[in-house]
Each structure stands twice: as C-alpha cells, then as structure tokens.
Symmetry: C2
Subunit: 207 residues, 2 copies
C-alpha cells in the first residue's frame, strides 16, 4: 500500500499544478511542479510511477492531463459527504473553511450536544442534535467524520460512529482514539506540532 | 539530530504520563505508557535512550521523575512568547485553545490588517495592527510565530518575520513557504490531511 506521505505529496503537486494552470501554461517540467516543495525530481517521478507514470522525460508534462490524472488517483471526482461533530470554536472555523470545498467532499452535516447551538445554521449547514447522529448518518450514507468535540467526549462519539459503519475519521481532539482495524484515522494534533517546533528551535540554540 | 517523530512521540508519552499521574499511580511499566499509541516497547526505549534513557528494565518507570525528564527535554519549563498573525476564524479559535496554555508557551500577542479587528481583545490578548509587527516582535523578543493569515499573504508576512530574526513558524496557510536555512517550520495542512484520508478510505473499497 502507499504511505500517507505519497498521497500528501500528490495533493501538493496538484495544488502547484492548479496554480500553474491559472498562469495559462500548458506544458511544464517536473522541476517547476516540485518548486519549493523540498522534493527531488527522483521522488516526483517515483510517486507518479506508483500510479502508472505520466508524461515523457525531456518533453515535460501536459498540465491539464496531469491534473486530471492526479484528481482521479485522489478520487477527487467522487463526491463524499462528511459529518462534523462538535460545532464549537474549531468546528465553526472548519465549517466556514474554503479549503475543504475544493476537495469536492463537503461537510454536509454537523452535530452538537449544546441546546444553544442545535438548530443554528453555519455556512448553510444546520447544526443537528447529536442524539440524531444514527438516523442522519444512515440517511445520508456518510462514511467520513471530523471530530472537533472535547477530548473526553471523543472516544464515546467514535464508538457510536464505528457501529454506524463509518470508514474514515479526521480527529482534532488531542487524545489517542481506539478504533478497530479497517477504519482509517488521521490525527491533527496542533499542540503536538507546536511542542515539536519549540523543541527544534530550542535545540538549535543548544539545549 | 532527532526526527520530528521522536519529539512528537515524547509529547504523546507525556500526555499519557500526565493522565496516569492523575490516577495517583507512582510507578508504571512502559507497556502502560505506550498503551493505545501505535508504538512498540522497543521504540519507546529507543526514544528515551536518545536522551540518556530513564528507569530500569523490569522495575518500571517512576511517573513523576519521567514527567520531569520529558518536560526538560521538550523544554516545557522555559516560557516562550508566541505571536499569532491573522486573527480570523482559525486564528480566533487558536487564541481561545486551552491546549496551547499547557505547553507553557502562550500566545502573547496577535496581529491583523483589518481595521475592524485591530484593538479587539480575544482571551485577554489585544489584536495589534500588522504595521507594528516589527516594533512588538523586537520589544517582546518573540522567536515563534503562528501563521493564520490568507494563503496569498503568508509569504510576505514570513519574509518580514525572517528579517525580525524569528526562529520558528507554525504555518496553517495551505501554501509552501520559502524560508532560509536555520528557521524551523511546521506546516499543518488540514485540506491535505483530509485528502489523504479520503484516498485511503476510497482505496480500501477498491479504486
Ligand atoms: N480551538 C482550537 O483552536 C483547537 C485547536 C486544536 C485542537 N482543538 C481541539 O478540538 C476540539 C474542539 O475544541 P474547541 O476549542 O472548538 O472547543 P469548544 O468547547 O469550543 O467546542 C466543542 C464543541 O463540542 C460540543 N460537544 C460536547 N460534547 C459533545 C458530544 N457528546 N457530541 C457532540 N458535540 C459535543 C460542545 O457543545 C462544543 O460546541 C477539542 O478537542 C480541542 O482540544 C481545538
Ligand atoms: N478556517 C479554517 O478552519 C482553516 C482550516 C485550515 C486552514 N486554514 C487556513 O488558515 C488561514 C486563515 O483562515 P481563516 O479561515 O481564519 O480565514 P479568515 O479570512 O477568517 O482569517 C484571515 C485573517 O487574516 C487577516 N489578514 C489578512 N491579511 C493580513 C496581513 N497581511 N497581516 C495580518 N493579518 C492579515 C484578515 O484580516 C483575517 O482576519 C488561511 O490561510 C486558511 O487557508 C483555515
């Protein structure tokens, strides 16, 4: 299987290619695609070769064709509904984030347990009561959930999602979630990122 | 030098140890410390050995002592002031995030270019005009900045921070920032995380 890093690099190539397309450039060298990405031309060719390789050496890559190929690999063309759970400070920021809508997998529903938030509409999405999670996840055939609930509530929510046959979780709560095999989880731990950054800055100055 | 992964694992061990300490447990096995972390006991011992190793095999680890050791390694004891740039939706959520205050490195100032936001106070922090970035960064001897500004503004802001001798950047804008050697950058790219999660979920079902 592929390492998550290959996929993350593909989505960075795609972002650069979309920028290049805006400048009306139709054919481009790999050097331009990987500009500023800290990736070697070797790595770039290797990443593409996983999926059959595209373009010819020395001739360059057709921008539009490569965009379509990478979008197909990333499955961007297939729309996936996503549920967001915990419409607090971070959840609200994510509901309004433009960056997710480009992925074609929009957040289509959101849940909270706070009576003061249930029924509110954020960016066109109505906040539902967490009690109706089961009903709505089944109705909308939701396979992906974003967790922006408090850390002590996250495991309970995930246990319920597992019963509802969820397949992927993007977790922002700073806890390690226990999930059965077969479910993909991606943890975004901002405190951990900051802590590791602080270490390297301090370490550079001599501990 | 250490890989960021070692440091991120240390901060996860620390989080588990703090939880264990709350249960009034004073000595613990490595198995308990690495519970639910996808880490082997081997890896745990190796991570600690970078820094001199602690505890004896078979006897277990003294919880309080290990917490102090890891905090010292992560430099948690030294206070670091942090500047946040872009007090919008995400910036505001981060200003209110409890998780950063535990790290002992609080966000001590925030900046924005929007007249409607300058002067506002969020979680006790006054939003300053981006025009006074230079003055305040020097006054408060700030070495770390968090970027939550729009992607097209991020590079310009970073260029100014580089001149102000910033040492570390936690970047949330979905762009690749060009920085000189010697400055540490950690990118949190939520769209990229979601895209890679979607790929694995789709891939599992057969592309
Ligand atoms: N604020 C940030 O910038 C930030 C940064 C990194 C990580 N996080 C993490 O993200 C999560 C959310 O943080 P926040 O700052 O938005 O907190 P918050 O308290 O503002 O939001 C949490 C929301 O979850 C809701 N909730 C509580 N129990 C629930 C349940 N059982 N089901 C559904 N909803 C429930 C609450 O009513 C609230 O609206 C936390 O785990 C936090 O540690 C936040
Ligand atoms: N909202 C999210 O959940 C989310 C998630 C992931 C990444 N991001 C990224 O984080 C960044 C912020 O996103 P947001 O949703 O908070 O957007 P936003 O528009 O709400 O906030 C951006 C803020 O930056 C300020 N700003 C603009 N130019 C500036 C400058 N030169 N100097 C200082 N401040 C300036 C704006 O006035 C605004 O307050 C963006 O790069 C976005 O792509 C946001």
């Amino acid at each position: 299987c592929f390492s998550p890093d290959v996929i993350k690099r593909l989505s960075l190539y795609l972002r650069n290619l979309r920028k290049i397309r805006k400048e009306n450039i139709t054919v481009i060298s790999s050097a331009k695609i990987i500009e500023f990405l800290n990736v070697s031309a070797e790595q770039f060719r290797k990443d593409l070769s996983y999926f059959g390789g595209f373009g010819k050496r020395g001739v360059g890559y057709k921008v539009e064709k490569l965009i379509k190929e990478i979008e197909a690999i990333l499955g961007i063309n297939k729309k996936w509904p996503i549920a967001l759970i915990g419409a607090g400070k971070l959840g609200t920021a994510l509901l309004k984030f433009e960056g997710f809508s480009k992925l074609n997998s929009r957040i289509t529903c959101a849940f909270d347990s706070d009576k003061g938030k249930i029924g509110k509409i954020i960016n066109g999405i109505k906040i539902e009561d967490i009690k109706s999670l089961g009903k709505i996840i089944k109705e909308k055939e939701i396979k992906i959930a974003i967790i922006t609930a408090p850390p002590e509530k996250a495991q309970g929510i995930v246990d319920e999602l597992v019963c509802l046959k969820i397949r992927g979780i993007l977790n922002f709560a700073p806890v390690i979630l226990k999930i059965p095999d077969g479910i993909f989880i991606s943890n975004v731990d901002m405190a951990c990122e900051l802590e590791s950054l602080l270490f390297f800055v301090k370490h550079k100055d001599g501990l």
